[in-house]
């Protein structure tokens, strides 16, 4: 019998060691599937468990999840293809990021992965041309709000989000991988220089580049929402490509701390490692999910939320940002 686990460690273990699901009872399965949906890892889980013995009811749910992931993969690749066509006249490298990059390059991190918006990285010097080409090809601004627009253009690492008027899909156009306000400034040009070309002319970051981007996103930017999925991405990249040259490249981008934290936490969550010190706090946050799919540990969550704002902005700017938002509300 599998020991009852009351947080998303149950899910982490099932992903890392599919055989661990043997012996799950109906309630255990229900909790696992619900958590996987809440963490947007149901497609990944379905791919990992494919072919194992399990109740028919579970088998059917996971088959649906695989079909949904396949459909999502197709839609993501199509959106990338449409962006490629729209940008073919702009003479600059277009680098796919995150989920779309994983599926476009056929990486294990892309198997069953849920993919939302299309994220691309382009050189900052090409940003205006890219923006114009996308607007000409049917993309529109999501938020035509003057304050947000100025905020984005001045401080963010991406254009304000665009949505395609026919296909209803969003695109995020990045020119670097962290907000300009963050204390860490990765070398975007080096990431672009090191990128790999795909058959259709689109590009992806190098394996180490993808890993560093994932770690930066997870530990130097957001509030760790969706953290388990990000960590799973990193774990797959390591399994597939190893860590040769990773240290040096992480150092060049000022992200050594974030990258080594990722490696330690992956070892603790998906292997036999033991978390120590603040890593344990991160794991508490990343696994804060119960068998009903509910977020748990509100205090930990709040702490990481506050931290995410702290990381993004210098204090005076954070105060100004919150003040403007507050006055408007």
């Amino acid at each position: 019998m599998v020991r009852a686990v009351s947080d998303a460690r149950l899910l982490a273990r099932a992903l890392a060691d599919p055989a661990s699901i043997v012996g799950l009872d109906a309630d255990g399965w229900t909790a696992l599937l619900t958590m996987a949906r809440a963490e947007q890892l149901i497609g990944t889980l379905a791919m990992r468990l494919d072919g194992l013995q399990m109740p028919d009811g579970v088998q059917a749910i996971l088959a649906d999840a695989r079909a949904a992931a396949e459909h999502g993969r197709r839609a993501a690749l199509w959106e990338a293809e449409m962006a490629r066509r729209a940008l073919s006249a702009v003479d600059c490298p277009v680098i796919l990021l995150k989920g779309t990059a994983f599926v476009a390059a056929g990486l294990s991190a892309g198997q069953g992965r849920s993919i939302g918006d299309l994220d691309i990285l382009v050189p900052r010097a090409s940003l205006d041309a890219v923006e114009a080409a996308l607007l000409a090809a049917g993309w529109e601004w999501v938020k035509p709000d003057p304050y947000d627009d100025v905020y984005y253009r001045r401080w963010m690492h991406e254009l304000p989000p665009l949505i395609h008027r026919e296909r209803d899909r969003m695109i995020d156009v990045h020119h670097t991988i962290l907000p300009l306000t963050a204390r860490i400034t990765p070398d975007a040009a080096a990431l672009i220089d090191g990128s790999f070309t795909l058959e259709n002319g689109l590009r992806t970051l190098s394996p180490n580049g993808m890993l560093i981007h994932a770690a930066a996103h997870l530990f130097a930017d957001g509030d760790l929402a969706g953290g388990l999925r990000n960590l799973w991405d990193i774990r797959c990249l390591i399994e597939e490509f190893g860590t040769d040259g990773l240290d040096m490249e992480a150092k060049r981008h000022g992200l050594s701390r974030e990258v080594s934290r990722s490696l330690r936490i992956i070892d603790a969550l998906f292997a036999e490692g033991t978390a120590r010190g603040t890593d344990r706090l991160y794991i508490r946050r990343i696994t804060a999910r119960d068998g009903w799919g509910r977020p748990t540990r509100p205090i930990t969550r709040l702490a990481f939320y506050v931290r995410s704002h702290w990381l993004r902005m210098p204090p005076a700017m954070l105060a100004r940002h919150l003040w403007t938002k507050w006055r408007k509300a």
Binding site: H71, R74, A75, L77, W78, E81, M82, R85, E166
Partner: protein, 91 residues
């Protein structure tokens, strides 16, 4: 522009269900269903035989059909619609 080559979906890239004056088409690469009226299915059929320029397409359509108002401008506009829908691309 006149030298542009237009390319249709790959072989087997479309599922086609004629309904009435409309034809439902499932585009496998995108997962999008389109409802087409004339002359879209005919243009796609010709491009299914191989990529073609505007003039080449006009000539090949003229072989099978009487093109009553078969101006280049009209065909260019139709092709633009198909490009926007992602059903064909400029090669």
């Amino acid at each position: 522009m006149s030298g542009t080559i237009f390319r249709g979906p790959l072989d087997g890239g479309l599922l086609i269900a004629p309904l009435d004056e409309f034809t439902a088409v499932y585009h496998r690469a995108s997962g999008i269903t389109h409802l087409l009226t004339e002359p879209a299915p005919q243009i796609l059929a010709v491009l299914g035989e191989g990529a073609s320029s505007l003039d080449g397409l006009l000539e090949r359509l003229g072989r099978d059909y009487d093109l009553d108002d078969g101006t280049r401008e009209a065909l260019a506009a139709r092709l633009e619609e198909l490009v926007e829908a992602g059903l064909i691309e400029r090669a």
